[in-house]
Symmetry: C2
Subunit: 343 residues, 2 copies
């Protein structure tokens, strides 16, 4: 049943509306929305182009009632911008595939696209194509984003070496604390900290500027974003770099305030997903350069441990120096599906 | 319930398997599957890059029981290759977002990816990234494909002029005839013609070589692919070119044999979707060059009408020269959702 007042959306009309709202012009964009493909013309440089894609499925990755369409748009693009940030890239373009069930109005779709633009444009990313379709019952969103390197400086997961220092941006576990609040029926913040948690979950801020700085400075030798939780993602970085790691529990920049709502802040920092912070490594010889030069305007970075030669092993170090292996309990869609699936 | 013998798929493991199966190397591909983004390095030329995306949703765009996973993979990438073909582009790379419910085995996913590669590789397109996730109940597939121009020759929808001749490749309505068979429970062909129809629907062949030839020859001045039916797509080309068109009913290359199964071949040619043939226009001054030079090895092309100065009007011309406006009844996901939705 279509809500009253929402006319049936016409695909051609929607595309025209979106075209008119995205009158972006760039010397490298030849053709945006409205043809069979978008057309770009990379400049005659040796820059790299970065391509990433992510899908969000209703009732698996989000619940519709937890988000305004605008928030959902902002988050959908943020997730992709975070991947570009994790390579040190500059966002440039994106395409959106959106499948919606009946009952989703044209207004909903336009607000969703406004959310995309709100997050995308300031980061430098512009919509250049997409696909609108019906779905049976649930919303599915798939975005592909393209970024460009600057001075060919791209940071891979694989650049870590034993002895490198391991850092993260921001705080870990805020998004999972926000999810905890939502799952317990709290959609409006009752305090400043609840607001921080809800915002981290519903409207994460991709670390584009930090990623770019870390790449341009030459200080980060490996980097990725934390989307599935530190316990899932750090082992991925270690595997790509063929090293192990030690993480100091007491150094984790946890979201302490979540304890007020019955959460374990350390558990959320280790296993909570969707923080979209950056995880990166810096050779110890460059530590002081990082500490002296890292701009105050960017989200703070915290050293949480170091890489080891013990390939594939990730150890947690307690304050008393005892250690335990970090069990991967983050959000792997397949292996860990029971852990956090919202269905 | 997971089918017996299918172990729970692990995302990391699947990605590793896919990496090993796609050991593609190219001087412009710096990093494929396995990092936050793929990295490409366009050569120092002025070529254009083409980007397209399409989403297929179970029970809207396809029924699972009508396809082997391999066929579904082949069709999913074919739809995107068709968009690149429609611009005259050369396919290069693609990413896949795949959301699957429980009950879909790792084997299913691997076979799906094999289908992608079967259609992608011969066309020059290689998998460079993706996202695997759970869905609630239905499969959702979103593919983004990147192509490259050759000698900067890209054909847009907007290049048509009044007086240009309108052509299509192949035959129209075969795919809709195949859908008709499937909807009537016929999944295995009982005759050569049923096989043609089922194949057109389940395993469409993107017209990459024809699109490239038409662009390189300089003969096609506007082009698009027919994915939603001629009655939806020709008006789109006309709108982009700010012209009208006349289509001669008797010239349509219909799939006559569908009449044996109770279909109206002309109706299917006009309004059936998913043919993935090319629709293009050629100035009348170039007609003889097209007729003399178009290679026999490519799917035959047929003139079906011409563009007119009557902007926005698409007329059907009967053999007795009477005319009627072409009503758009193809597959618009939103305006025409009842017409062909499979739900």
């Amino acid at each position: 049943v279509r809500p009253k007042g929402s006319p049936p959306a016409d695909e051609n009309r929607l595309i025209q509306l979106l075209q008119r709202r995205s009158p972006f012009e760039s010397s490298i964009l030849i053709k945006g929305i409205g043809d069979d493909t978008a057309v770009i013309r990379p400049k005659r440089t040796d820059e790299f182009w970065l391509i990433t894609t992510d899908m969000l499925v209703e009732n698996v990755d989000f619940r519709r009632e937890w988000y305004t369409p605008r928030q959902l748009g902002r988050k959908s693009i943020a997730v992709n911008l975070s991947d570009l940030a994790a390579m040190g890239g500059r966002p440039r373009f994106y395409t959106v595939s959106l499948a919606v069930p009946r009952g989703i109005s044209e207004r909903w779709m336009l607000e969703f696209h406004e959310g995309l633009a709100e997050r995308g444009k300031p980061a430098g990313a512009h919509l250049i194509g997409g696909d609108l379709s019906r779905s049976g019952k649930h919303i599915a969103i798939s975005i592909s984003a393209l970024g460009e390197s600057l001075n060919r400086k791209v940071i891979y997961r694989s650049g870590g070496k034993a002895g490198d220092l391991v850092y993260v941006t921001g705080r870990l576990g805020r998004s999972a604390a926000g999810l905890h609040l939502l799952q317990n029926g709290r959609r409006r913040a009752g305090s400043r900290f609840q607001k921080m948690a809800l915002q981290a979950h519903r409207d994460p801020e991709p670390r584009c500027a930090a990623g770019l700085w870390l790449a341009q400075s030459g200080l980060a030798h490996s980097m990725m974003d934390i989307s599935d939780g530190l316990s899932m993602d750090l082992p991925r970085l270690c595997a790509a770099s063929r090293v192990g790691a030690e993480v100091w529990v007491s150094s984790l920049p946890v979201f302490r305030e979540s304890a007020m709502w019955g959460c374990n802040p350390v558990e959320l920092a280790l296993h909570g997903g969707e923080d979209y912070e950056l995880l990166f490594t810096v050779p110890s010889s460059k530590r002081s350069r990082l500490e002296q030069n890292y701009p105050d305007s960017l989200p703070p970075v915290t050293q949480i441990g170091k890489l080891s030669a013990d390939a594939g092993r990730v150890w947690m170090i307690r304050p008393d120096q005892t250690r335990f292996p970090l069990p991967p309990r983050g959000y792997d869609h397949f292996a860990q599906e029971c852990a956090r699936e919202l269905g």
